[in-house]
């Protein structure tokens, strides 16, 4: 702890002296892009694709640094407290930015301590059910769950993750009740649907796609606001279940510490606006199972606000329900 404080103090002094002159000719040195998850993961991939593009666009080196732990909270907190000089950015994700702050104690307030720049990729959850179940659509799922309260087991990547909360939100909106079966990670939870140990899961598209292709599970919907280009014939939960506004989508976005000068934010935002149409980036994103996206800083901030509000209501309901 002490180490970090000392480091921080040193950096703040360093930053304040050079801040005024830094804005105009940013970037003058390497930019560090913090990935708050372990290397090899999905966010890591998105981070590295983005870093590769920004290096070209900003003509400076962009160093990816993994600071994993506590579901992304450790790395996000690190960026929230970094000097706001544009040299430390984060490839944040929905979990640590929009869900964790309302569900548990975090050292940062996403509205006050973070400055969203742009979402760079999104990936929906896919509703998959075991092949032995007579369920082929969201209305059938709702009917089945209502007829057999608590009988359907759904797998998740652990309590508090998006795989858990997306179902929790679904249950609140539809008045159904299923049993939560947590696993350690999304892949084993998906595999449990294949083997039949659990019947259903709102699983990450990356994990679901190979199983859908092999026809080992039945996919019935996606949880995003719009349909996914990877499975265009799957309806969204909102349209199929007539649940207006239902959305549980995983995103990764570039976020800076609050207080980062506007000109720097604009420079990064302008670069990211072009990134979404870059052919190389498109190809790499598709390989990682992601969809490239661009949002303005204002749109991104609004999205985080909306999500915080949505999950806060859910967390409160879940706590009261107990």
């Amino acid at each position: 702890m002490k180490t970090k404080l000392g480091l921080l103090a040193g950096l703040v002094i360093l930053a304040s002296t050079s801040l005024a002159s830094a804005q105009a000719d940013w970037p003058r040195k390497a930019v560090t892009l913090i990935v708050p998850y372990a290397p090899g993961g999905y966010t890591d991939a998105v981070g590295r694709i983005t870093a590769r593009y920004l290096e070209k666009a900003l003509a400076t080196s962009v160093v990816v640094e993994n600071r994993a732990g506590a579901g992304g909270i450790i790395g996000t907190a690190y960026v929230a407290k970094a000097p706001p000089d544009g040299y430390t950015l984060c490839v944040c994700s929905v979990g640590a930015t929009s869900v964790a702050p309302v569900a548990q104690k975090t050292d940062y307030d996403p509205k006050k301590d973070l400055r969203p720049i742009s979402i760079v990729s999104t990936i929906p959850q896919t509703v998959i059910v075991g092949k032995s179940l007579p369920i082929t659509s969201i209305p059938e799922l709702i009917a089945y769950a209502k007829a057999n309260p608590g009988k359907l087991n759904y797998g998740s990547s652990g309590a508090g993750g998006l795989m858990h909360y997306s179902v929790a939100l679904f249950q609140v909106r539809t008045g159904t009740r299923m049993t939560h079966v947590p696993f350690k990670g999304g892949a084993p939870a998906t595999a449990a649907v294949v083997s039949g140990e659990v019947q259903i899961s709102f699983t990450n598209m990356t994990d679901a796609l190979p199983q859908m292709e092999a026809n080992t599970v039945r996919a019935i919907a996606v949880t995003s606001v719009e349909r996914s280009p990877y499975a265009p014939n799957l309806p969204t939960v909102a349209e199929a279940g007539n649940l207006k506004g239902y959305s549980a989508e995983s995103w990764n976005g570039i976020i800076a510490p609050a207080g980062t000068p506007e000109p720097i934010i604009k420079k990064i935002s302008d670069a990211l606006a072009k990134m979404v149409d870059d052919a190389d980036v498109k190809k790499s994103m598709a390989a990682a199972g992601a969809t490239g996206v661009f949002t303005t800083p204002a749109e991104f901030a609004k999205r985080i606000d909306d999500e915080l509000a949505q999950w806060a209501v859910l967390v409160k309901e879940m706590k009261d329900g107990k």
Binding site: A45, I73, A159, P182, A187, A191, S195, T206, T216, A287
Partner: protein, 504 residues
């Protein structure tokens, strides 16, 4: 059969291109190197080298990364034997007898047996994947939560068997390990437990920090004590190569270890660790004179090394055929494949035959390379022991510290190592062994997770553990092992009581 041979031939054609041979060699060399450096394990190394593979084609990348993985299994046994510092949970048991052998001047023999055993196991393991990968994956899929719980229980009973001293103390150490394993987030509630409010502990205690502290730091401190038993003093080295007699002696141990490794390697969640511990426990049980174990029994090196290397190969089965990672390293492999645009899953074999068969073929080649790299190196490693300890310990300290730091880039883990070094040192003075503790630490979390999941799914019915055939068999095996441990203990007790009475 012909099909498989043809496909395997195709695989060799893929893996045999100069480019892929080169990647295989780089991987094997890297793996051996990091395996030998204490504290630096395959997880840290693969994650550090992952970015470097982005530029390669997917087959080359995965061949290199797997080379690092099984190369580290070879190299890991070297530090365990020479310095009593296991860097991976699978080489914890190798250290027990391996290091004793080194102290007796038989380090070369132990290293050679480990390398040859690993080579044999690696080849058989790869052959099994080639011949029966998909059906084996089907078996792995039959394992559900209750079965995993019973498997973990069997692993814990094996940990009791491998204790040298008091069984009572070994059980206490396992419990302490279980407790340490439970530090961190509870996946069922999302709440953190026993973290003292440290965010760094919310993902649990870092295994490398515990292993480096309990083994590395504690070992170095004891070796530096002037009044200590001078464990660091290594007897004159008798021979570097094992005699034919020794090889014949270990032939069945290697075979048994290989079979156990193949069987457990395909199971996600601690399968490889359970494999190496069970292989050791089995050897101790079938040996004519079990008392040799813990004092330098060569089978105690051969069997677990064969087991962990066989498991290292077969742990690719669930990855390639189901898309399920069996360990942290395998999770990184999934990441690597995904970055190259390949989603690991049931379709890999048919859609990416180059990758699947090329990888398997590269495993044969890689294992051959490793044994060729490692056998001549044994002489070098053994010479390393001639360096006076007053210099060697500095190297061990620095590399362990960097190794621990590099896992999460966190100074916190370095402090944890310090704390566990102190704990390990005191426990050592109190005659409590660290190996069962590490076993408890590794198996605790999946054990809790699976027992809770089983009961959620069975709606609180405890009978699931005996109703499922797989679980029942595993439980019976655990029970039989437990009885066989307890019997001599009870008998001895009775003899002691008898003696006491006679003395009166």
């Amino acid at each position: 059969m012909m099909d498989v041979l043809a496909l395997l031939g195709h695989g060799f054609a893929v893996a045999g291109t100069p480019q892929n041979l080169f990647f295989c060699l780089v991987g094997a060399l890297c793996g051996t190197l990091i395996g030998v450096l204490p504290g630096l394990g395959p997880v840290a190394t693969i994650s550090l080298l992952l970015p470097a593979t982005y530029a390669l084609d997917p087959v080359g990348a995965i061949i290199m990364l797997s080379g690092i993985y099984y190369g580290a299994q070879y190299g890991g046994s070297t530090t365990a034997i020479l310095m009593n510092i296991p860097g991976e949970s699978t080489s914890v048991v190798t250290a027990i007898d391996g290091h004793r052998l080194a102290q007796q001047g038989r380090a070369g023999e132990a290293l050679a047996v480990a390398a040859i055993g690993s080579f044999f196991a690696g080849c058989v393991g790869s052959l099994v994947i080639a011949l029966a990968g998909p059906p084996l994956a089907g078996v792995a899929q039959k394992f559900e939560s209750p079965d995993y719980f019973s498997l973990m229980l069997l692993g814990l009973v094996s940990a009791v068997v491998l204790a040298n001293g008091s069984v009572f103390r070994a059980v206490a150490m396992i419990l302490l390990g279980l407790l340490l394993g439970l530090v961190g987030s509870d996946i069922n509630s999302g709440l953190t437990r026993m973290t003292f409010g440290f965010l760094q502990l919310s993902d649990g205690v870092n295994f490398v920090a515990i292993a480096m502290g309990m083994f590395g730091v504690a070992e170095v401190v004891s070796n530096l004590e002037s009044k200590g038993e001078k464990k660091a003093q290594i007897a004159q080295i008798s021979s570097i190569w094992p005699s034919l007699k020794i090889l014949l002696l270990t032939k069945f141990a290697v075979l048994r270890g290989t079979l156990i490794g193949i069987a457990f390697g395909i199971l996600p969640g601690g399968g490889a660790t359970v494999a190496s511990f069970s292989a050791y426990a089995l050897e101790k049980k079938v040996a004519r004179d079990p008392s040799r174990f813990g004092k330098g029994a060569i089978e105690g090196v051969a069997a677990p090394e064969a087991a962990n290397n066989a498991a290292a190969q077969t742990s690719f089965v669930p990855l390639l055929t189901l898309g399920i990672p069996t360990s942290a390293t395998m999770a990184l492999m999934i990441g690597a494949l995904t970055l190259h645009g390949i989603a690991p899953g049931p379709m890999v074999i048919t859609r990416q035959p180059d990758l699947f068969w090329g990888l398997i073929a590269s495993m044969f080649i890689g294992n051959l390379m490793l044994v060729i790299i490692n056998l001549p190196m044994i002489g070098l490693w053994v010479k390393l022991l001639n360096i006076p300890y007053r210099m060697l310990f500095l190297v061990i300290l620095v590399i362990s510290a960097i190794g621990v730091y590099s896992v999460n880039n966190s100074a916190f883990d370095v402090y944890l190592t310090l704390a566990f070094g102190l704990l390990g040192y005191i426990l050592r003075k109190l005659d409590a062994e660290p190996a069962p503790l590490l076993m408890g630490f590794v198996l605790g979390p999946p054990m809790e997770e699976n027992v809770r999941r089983s009961l959620i799914i069975s709606q609180g019915d405890f009978m699931v553990f005996v109703q499922r055939p797989i679980s029942l068999v595993l439980l019976l095996a655990a029970l039989a092992l437990l009885i066989s441990v307890a019997l001599p203990f009870i008998r001895k007790r009775r003899v002691e009581v008898f003696k006491d009475e006679a003395a009166n």
